[in-house]
């Protein structure tokens, strides 16, 4: 097969898991300072197989099975980064990153600041997050608000296969720490993306309009993007022409794209599965309201998970915001003052 033929062949569907694995592989091949470490990332290739093959290709020193200790993993990554390496750390599940919070909050996030720019930490912390996979307790948390509340961390979350590749490349290349949240229920989502022709590496901090519309904006990210796209489709029947904005990066936050959209549509709903109270949506609503107040025809609403500890799998469908809850909120955008 000629190169030209290979390029013109239709791209085979690839999963987000494969895109993430390719992103690390390509980064490691290009830059010998990129090291992957975590629990079970070597021989096993990670419990989600995201690091599959890396240890074989690059050796145990570049893709390392660590002892089982998250604080130790992230803490040693700090030292590795201090000595010029670019560690990519895998936390096995959202709630198992909590033992590493001390390192993340006390050191990773503020090392640049406390050394007056003298010491940067280019660490990527990959965290599979969110529910919808029937995981038992402590396997479904959406922890993004904790990370967002910590200055010095970038918080990135892809929702598509292409973005999984591009954003992880950007995260690894970033000279500041990135908490890279991987929506685990989208790991096996597919797209016609060819690992042979990797997607463009987009800079961190840019939201994207996934669907253009005129009557209201759905602002969302990660695992809730497919929900919003489905809701937008369904809303057509009700005469709603919804725009869907995928944030991709929670920190830094792309006020420009979000507010341009809301100014166009005059109405907005923020959708995510993390809890509402103290959740990411509160910040987003506040920013939109501050910047677009005179363009708003209705209050900016939130559709979120309930303010409860993540429920057991058999009840999670009642907790996770689905299409109906989004459509309900959209209906409430037909807002009349005093109503």
């Amino acid at each position: 097969m000629t190169t030209a033929a290979a390029h013109s062949a239709p791209a085979k569907p690839a999963t987000m898991a494969l895109a993430l694995q390719r992103a690390m592989r390509d980064a490691m091949a290009e830059d010998p300072t990129v090291h992957v470490l975590g629990e079970d990332v070597g021989t096993l290739g990670g419990v989600f197989r995201i690091t599959d093959g890396l240890a074989k290709e690059f050796g145990d020193d570049r893709c390392t099975d660590t002892p089982l200790a998250e604080a130790g993993i992230l803490g040693t990554a700090v030292g590795m980064a201090m000595y010029g390496l670019r560690p990519v750390v895998e936390m096995q599940f959202d709630a198992f990153a909590y033992p590493a919070f001390e390192q993340l909050i006390s050191h990773v996030s503020r090392m640049r600041n406390r050394t007056r720019g003298g010491l940067a930490l280019p660490i990527t912390v990959r965290v599979p997050y969110g529910g919808g996979i029937g995981g038992v307790e402590h396997h479904s948390d959406s922890s993004e608000a904790y990370y967002m509340a910590t200055p010095g961390l970038q918080v990135v979350t892809p929702a598509t296969v292409e973005d999984a590749y591009g954003l992880l490349r950007a995260a690894i290349a970033s000279d500041d720490p990135v908490v890279f949240l991987e929506p685990k229920r989208l790991y096996w989502s597919k797209a016609a993306w060819s690992p042979q022709e990797p997607a463009a590496v987009e800079p961190i901090g840019q939201a994207v309009v996934r669907r253009a519309g005129r009557s209201a904006t759905l602002i969302t990210y990660g695992p809730s993007l497919p929900v919003c796209l489905e809701a937008a489709q369904a809303a057509e029947a009700e005469g709603w022409d919804l725009e869907v904005v995928d944030l991709r990066s929670l920190v830094p936050f792309d006020d420009e794209t979000v507010c341009a959209s809301v100014r166009r549509t005059g109405r907005a709903v923020v959708v995510h599965e993390a809890t509402g109270f103290g959740g990411p949506g509160g910040e987003i609503v506040a920013r939109v309201t501050e910047r677009c107040f005179h363009h708003l025809e209705a209050p900016v609403l939130r559709v979120t998970g309930f303010d409860i500890p993540y429920p057991p799998p058999m009840l999670e469908r009642h907790h996770l915001p689905g299409v109906d809850r989004v459509l309900d909120a959209v209906a409430r955008l037909q807002w009349e003052a005093g109503s």
Partner: protein, 378 residues
């Protein structure tokens, strides 16, 4: 030029430091060079036949529980099951070494220890079935919730044991953890607190060779996990984890010691994980099939049967009674697990706080309305 040759070095006489000796003699804390064994040794003759028979029946029941629960995952009745096949002796003998007033702090793999302590087999599985995080009231059987984050239950055990002692109760806490879990910071902090406070806690590490895919050699460079005890100032014990009476003996001694104010003990039970990490794991990725064979030979039930036979305690009646009891348990488990659990979605809000906030009441109303609308559509 060496230090000695420095000008004036000959005249330099540092004042000798004050005499140093270890605060306590480390030797008595060191584990035995070989794991403690009873089966196949002379000591076996001294074990109470009653205890041997109880352990045997429980092992057979435990094995059956493991195979039944694994079968339930294949039928989709359990979301996931971390089997303890091959490790039943640790689970059961440890639980049976406790008195009723003592507390058990299990990890997510220790369902058998909880069941051996009298917990309803179905209640022990709700975490893994997915209908509720903890299917029982921890105070009832004195079993803390099966704990998913690794090693985080260990400091709880220390705190509880400490509190009991402060209150003047002679209660002991048994805290179980895997070999991988010993790498977590919480393991270190728990052992350190326990030793400093001389808390009545027994730490049992089930060393089954792997933390998911990571073998012990990549987990620790210590001579043994039991050796870690010395650094905290508590005794370390090594035991053959497939030798049920040996596990029972070592645990019972440590529990008795803790109860009389002797402080904590760290016990490492050497065993092997016969099944994969969970039904979702593919163990062929990280271990050779031949590796299991020696351990299958050294099976805890087999070892017991050999001993019971040698002592003339095992006849067909005993064997059949054990297997019938196990089958009855399995049939009951199967039957009750095959019924769909009755869940009330409104329970999502029932136990977040002692009193519901107005926000939660709002969300509750929202869900109720959704459920009613769903009901209307049916």
């Amino acid at each position: 030029m060496t230090v000695q040759e420095l000008p004036g070095a000959a005249a330099y006489r540092p004042t000798p430091p004050p005499a140093w000796k270890p605060r306590i003699d480390p030797a008595p804390l060191l584990p035995d060079p070989e794991p403690h064994r009873v089966l196949g040794t002379k000591a076996a003759a001294d074990v109470d036949p009653e205890l041997l028979l109880t352990l045997y029946a429980q092992l057979v029941r435990g094995r059956r529980y493991n195979t039944q629960a694994t079968a339930l995952t294949k039928q989709g009745r359990l979301a996931v099951y971390p089997s303890s096949t091959g490790q039943e002796a640790c689970e059961i003998a440890a639980a049976l070494a406790l008195e009723e007033r003592d507390w058990l702090f299990p990890s997510y793999r220790d369902t058998l220890a909880a069941v051996a302590r009298g917990l309803d087999p179905v209640d022990a599985l709700t975490l893994l079935r997915g209908d509720w995080h903890t299917g029982y009231d921890p105070r009832e059987r004195r079993i803390a919730p099966l704990c998913t984050p690794l090693a985080t239950q260990l400091p709880h055990a220390v705190g509880l044991a400490h509190a009991a002692r402060l209150k003047g109760d002679d209660v002991v806490a048994l805290a179980m953890v895997g070999d991988g879990g010993t790498s977590e910071g919480d393991f270190h902090e728990a052992l350190n607190f326990a030793a400093v406070w001389q808390a009545p806690v027994v730490f049992l590490v089930q060393n089954n060779g792997f933390a998911i895919s990571v073998p012990l050699a990549k987990q620790t460079a210590a001579p043994s996990l039991a050796h870690k005890a010395v650094g905290y100032g508590m005794p370390g014990r090594l035991v053959d984890g497939n030798d049920a009476p040996a596990v029972h003996q070592v645990l019972a001694e440590a529990v008795a010691r803790a109860r009389r104010g002797g402080g904590p003990t760290l016990i490492e039970a050497i065993t092997y994980r016969i099944d994969a990490h969970t039904n979702a794991d593919d163990a062929t990725r990280y271990r050779a099939s031949g590796e299991i064979d020696a351990w299958r030979e050294h099976d805890p039930i087999r070892l017991m049967e050999q001993e019971l036979t040698r002592r003339g305690l095992l006849d067909d009646t005993v064997k059949e009674a054990a297997s019938e009891a196990a089958e009855a348990m399995a049939a009951d488990l199967r039957q009750r697990m095959n019924a769909d659990p009755v869940l009330d979605p409104m329970d999502l809000f029932a136990h977040v706080y002692a009193e519901r906030s107005s926000q939660l009441r709002e969300q509750e109303a929202q869900l109720r309305a959704e459920l009613e609308a769903e009901g209307d559509q049916r």
